[in-house]
């Protein structure tokens, strides 16, 4: 049986998942980054991904439905850096048992490498890469390395980590 059950005029209907997570309202282009960051493609979970779907709030959006996965608080923070306006729906037995909006975290630990090649995090295992996150006056998401104190835009950090900004 296929995941996609039918395509109507204005809706893409995908099969409901029994248990897992639906990440909705992902900014277009970020769904692939989420799959890459969490290495979901190498696992055997059932995944449905929609790119550039029509969305009232965003104009267009990406969406991910992934079975048998829930996100820990620290994973939720990493997710929020890629998709700060997304909504998480936790599904259990076909029902939404929890629903919340992602919020940009103040800090992220261990998820992203520091783009500064002379940062101590590249040679010392004890120095787990760690960034403070803030929004600057141009409304850009900025990330400041705890160790080398360099400030990067979110896009530079993502690019340096093999993710498309």
């Amino acid at each position: 049986m296929s995941d996609t059950t039918q395509i109507s005029k204005d809706k893409l209907l995908v099969e409901a998942i029994a248990n897992g997570t639906v990440i909705d309202h992902i900014a277009p282009g970020q769904a692939m980054n989420i799959l890459r960051l969490f290495k979901f493609l190498g696992k055997h979970n059932h995944i449905t991904v929609g790119f550039n779907l029509r969305s009232g709030e965003l104009g267009s959006k990406d969406i991910i439905k992934i079975s048998d996965v829930t996100f820990s608080p620290s994973e939720t923070e990493q997710l929020a850096i890629l998709a700060p306006n997304a909504t998480i729906n936790v599904i259990s037995n076909y029902k939404v048992i929890d629903k919340y909006d992602l919020r940009l975290p103040n800090e992220t630990i261990g998820a992203f490498k520091c783009p500064n090649s002379n940062c101590i995090t590249h040679v010392e295992e004890a120095a787990t890469p760690r960034f403070k996150i803030f929004v600057n006056s141009n409304q850009e998401v900025m990330m400041r390395c705890h160790y080398c104190e360099r400030v990067f835009t979110r896009e530079v950090v993502l690019k340096n980590n093999g993710l498309e900004p």
Binding site: N118, C119, I120, E124, C145, Y147, E149
Partner: protein, 307 residues
């Protein structure tokens, strides 16, 4: 009352409040006027220079000895078994800090001092971590500005030379954001002040302007902060063209204010000609001497509840 820097790490100038800076400068001034040889009595300080820097190391060691403390350490990690045997920096720090009352550390990688501070049970003073921070240099610069001008508020200061890679100018410019400075930036276009520093100046409503020659800012400034335009950053023809613009000579000082002082983090190579040294504006050697008092103040405050 316990001073707010007691047992604190000194890693980055950005962590200091205006009150911290003023306490350090006041302490430095007191120690310069009334030397104390008891503030580090019975204390052992690790001075570990994983990267060589003779002036900074001797300045720290002088400060410690003058305050009655003792030193263990090394001038260059290549002469030690650290690293060679494959030990991590984290393990080296754990061991050294189990011997001493405080650690002064210099390392070529950015963030090394923060890592040490996160691990160490005793206070860590950053003596330079790569291109990142060198807080005792900024303190000695502020101390010297105060000493020569009688104030830190509303100083007119020109930063000249390599403003792109110059760690000292970045930290000093950031520190002066607390003091409503007027900043003149004089550099080749390719060595201009980085945008993130300009953003910080904007955020603090600090007035600044960008210039190509020293002469155009000379009559306006109280402090001329010189740095070296390094030859290796340019091809030979370009360097020869730029070189003359960023070399300070006595002839360029004719329009200078009488209170104007020239500072330089040193070493000076050829960017200030030797005949400038005898003008009343030259202050860079006294600035270097002030490094001892600035470091005495930091060490005293970190290791004494009250002074």
């Amino acid at each position: 009352m316990t001073n707010p820097l007691f047992q604190k790490d000194i890693i980055s100038i950005s962590e200091f409040t205006r009150e911290h800076i003023e306490l350090i400068l006041k302490t430095a001034r007191q120690l310069k006027e009334n030397p104390r040889d008891d503030l580090l009595k019975g204390r052992l300080i690790g001075v570990t220079f994983f990267e060589g820097s003779t002036r900074t190391r001797l300045s720290f060691e002088t400060a410690i000895h003058r305050l009655g403390g003792q030193v263990i350490g090394f001038a260059d990690a290549s002469n030690t078994s650290l690293g060679k045997k494959g030990e991590t920096l984290a393990d080296s720090i754990r061991i050294i800090t189990s011997y001493v009352d405080a650690l002064v550390m210099r390392h070529h990688m950015e963030g090394a001092a923060r890592l040490a501070a996160d691990i160490s049970p005793v206070p860590v003073i950053n003596a330079g971590d790569g291109a990142n921070q060198h807080p005792s240099q900024t303190i000695l610069d502020l101390f010297t500005i105060y000493e020569t001008q009688g104030r830190l508020n509303e100083i007119n200061i020109a930063f000249v030379g390599d403003l792109k890679y110059g760690r000292t100018v970045h930290s000093l410019a950031e520190a002066l954001c607390n003091y409503n400075a007027r900043i003149y930036l004089v550099s080749p276009e390719s060595l201009a002040m980085p945008k993130y520093i300009l953003d910080t100046l904007d955020k603090h409503h600090i007035e600044y302007s960008i210039h190509q020659t020293i002469e155009e800012v000379m009559p306006k400034v109280d402090i001329l902060y010189m740095t070296r335009v390094q030859k290796e950053r340019f091809d030979e023809t370009e360097y020869q063209h730029l070189r003359s613009k960023y070399i300070l000579t006595p002839q360029m000082l004719t329009e200078a204010r009488s209170n104007m002082k020239i500072l330089h983090p040193l070493p000076r190579i050829d960017e200030i000609t030797l005949d400038v040294d005898s003008t009343p504006h030259a202050y860079y050697f006294k600035q270097a001497a002030n490094g001892v008092y600035a470091r005495q103040a930091l060490l005293s405050l970190v290791l004494n509840k009250e002074i």
